[in-house]
C-alpha cells in the first residue's frame, strides 16, 4: 500500500512539474488532466469518495474542456486575423498596380 501511495504522490509532483515547465500549452493542459485523474484516485485512498467523483467529473472533464475551448477560440481568432491581413495585403497590391 505504501508503494502505491508513493507512486501516486510522485506522479502528482511529476505531472505538476511537467505542466508548469513544458513550453507547449496543449501538453500543459493534457498533463493537468492526468493530474486531476490521479488526484481522484488519491481521494479514494483518503476515504473521500464524494470528492473522487466530483474531481473526476469536474477537474478531468469540465475544466479541461474549458481550457481546450480557450485554446481553440484563440486559434480561430488568430486565423481570422491572418485571413483579413492577407486580404488587405492583396487589395493593396492590386491598388498599386
Amino acid at each position: 500500500m505504501a508503494f502505491v501511495e508513493v507512486l501516486l504522490l510522485g506522479f502528482l509532483v511529476a505531472c505538476a512539474l511537467t505542466a508548469v515547465l513544458h513550453r507547449n500549452t496543449m501538453i500543459t493542459i493534457l498533463t493537468y488532466m492526468g493530474f486531476s485523474v490521479v488526484m481522484s484516485v488519491i481521494w479514494m485512498l483518503l476515504q473521500a469518495p464524494d470528492l473522487a467523483i466530483t474531481e473526476a467529473a469536474v477537474g478531468a472533464g469540465v475544466s479541461t474542456v474549458l481550457y481546450f475551448l480557450t485554446l481553440q477560440k484563440i486559434r480561430e481568432l488568430k486565423e481570422s486575423e491572418d485571413a483579413e491581413e492577407e486580404r488587405r495585403r492583396k487589395a493593396g497590391e492590386e491598388g498599386q498596380k
Binding site: R23, N24, M26, A48, T54, R75, S80
Partner: protein, 299 residues
C-alpha cells in the same frame, strides 16, 4: 515554403504559441491590421528580465517550500484519532446525523442540512460565474465588431457536425450511459457518494459530447437559451425558498414538518434529495452554458 521555413513553422507549432503576438510591434500592427515590421529592440531586455525573473522565482519557491515543510513537520500526525480536528463537531455529525437529516451519506447530509447556507453561497458563486462569462463572451454588438459578426454569421456553425463514424458511434454508445450515471449520482446523493454537483457535471458533460458530435443545432431543439435561463433561475430560487423555510423554522425553534422518511430508502432524507436534484439541474445548465459560450458565443 522552403524547408527551413517549414521546420521553423513546425517548431513554432511544437512550442505551441504560434498564434501569439511575440512583440509589442506585432501587437500594434495587428491592432491596426498593418503588415508586421520585424522589431529589433527592447523585448530582448524583457526576455533577459524574464530569465532573471524565473531564477529569482525558483529561489523564492524553494525557500517557501522549506519554510512550509518545517511548519508541516510540527503539525499533528497524519491519521491520528486524537488530532484536534476530530473534536465534538464531527462526532455530533456522525452520531446524530441520520436521525436529524435522514441521509445515509453523512457528508451530503452535512453540507445540505447543517451547512446548507454555505452550500447556497457556493451555488450563487456558480450562478455569478455563469453570468460573468455570459457578459464577457456573448456574441452581441458590445463584444464583437461588425466584421466579426458578419464572419461568424456567414459560417453558421450550428450545422457543423463531425462526420467521423467512429466518434459518432462511440458517442451514441456513451451518451445514454453518461446521462444515466448523471441522474443516478444526482438522485442517490443521499445514499451513495456523489450529489447534486457531481451528477450535474456528468449530465453537462454528456450534453457537451452530444453538442460536439451532432452540432449545437441538435441540442437547441430541446435546450435553448430561454429554457436555460428558466431552469437556472427557477432552480436557484426553489433552493433559496427551501433554505429560508428550513433556516427560519430552525432558528426560531419551530417544528419544520419535514418528513424524513426511513433512512436507506430512495424517497427519504427530507430536503436533501430535492436540493440535490435542483443543484444538479442548475450545474448541468451552467456547464453546458460555459461550453456554448466558449465555443460559439451563444446558447
Amino acid at each position: 515554403m522552403s524547408t527551413s521555413n517549414r521546420f521553423k513553422a513546425f517548431f513554432d507549432w511544437v512550442d505551441g504559441e504560434e498564434w501569439c503576438a511575440k512583440t509589442p510591434d506585432e501587437v500594434i500592427a495587428r491592432q491596426k491590421k498593418a503588415p508586421v515590421r520585424r522589431p529589433t529592440y527592447e523585448l530582448d531586455s524583457y526576455r533577459r528580465f524574464r530569465r532573471l525573473n524565473q531564477a529569482v522565482g525558483a529561489l523564492f519557491c524553494i525557500t517557501l517550500a522549506v519554510v512550509l515543510t518545517l511548519v508541516v513537520v510540527s503539525f499533528p500526525p497524519f491519521g491520528d484519532p486524537a488530532n484536534p480536528a476530530n473534536n465534538e463537531v464531527p462526532a455530533r455529525y456522525i452520531e446524530r446525523g441520520i436521525e436529524e437529516t435522514g441521509s445515509a451519506n453523512l457528508v451530503g447530509g452535512m453540507i445540505l442540512s447543517y451547512r446548507v447556507f454555505d452550500t447556497f453561497g457556493e451555488s450563487s458563486v456558480l450562478f455569478l460565474a455563469a453570468t460573468c462569462v455570459t457578459m464577457l463572451l456573448r456574441r452581441d454588438r458590445n463584444n464583437t465588431t461588425s466584421r466579426d459578426l458578419r464572419e461568424l454569421r456567414s459560417d453558421d456553425r450550428a450545422d457543423r457536425k463531425d462526420k467521423d463514424i467512429v466518434l459518432r458511434t462511440v458517442v451514441l454508445l456513451l451518451l445514454p450511459v453518461s446521462v444515466m450515471v448523471g441522474f443516478y449520482v444526482m438522485l442517490f446523493g443521499h445514499l451513495s457518494p456523489g450529489g447534486g454537483f457531481s451528477g450535474g457535471s456528468i449530465l453537462g458533460g454528456g450534453l457537451i459530447l452530444y453538442s460536439r458530435t451532432f452540432g449545437s443545432g441538435s441540442v437547441r431543439k430541446f435546450f435553448n437559451e430561454h429554457l436555460y435561463h428558466l431552469v437556472k433561475v427557477v432552480c436557484l430560487m426553489c433552493y433559496g425558498l427551501i433554505l429560508v423555510y428550513y433556516v427560519f423554522t430552525g432558528s426560531n425553534g419551530l417544528d419544520n414538518h419535514i418528513w424524513l422518511g426511513i433512512p436507506g430508502n430512495i424517497i427519504s432524507s427530507g430536503i436533501i434529495m430535492p436540493i440535490n436534484v435542483l443543484v444538479g439541474f442548475e450545474v448541468a445548465c451552467t456547464i453546458y452554458a460555459f461550453y456554448a459560450l466558449f465555443s460559439e458565443g451563444e446558447m
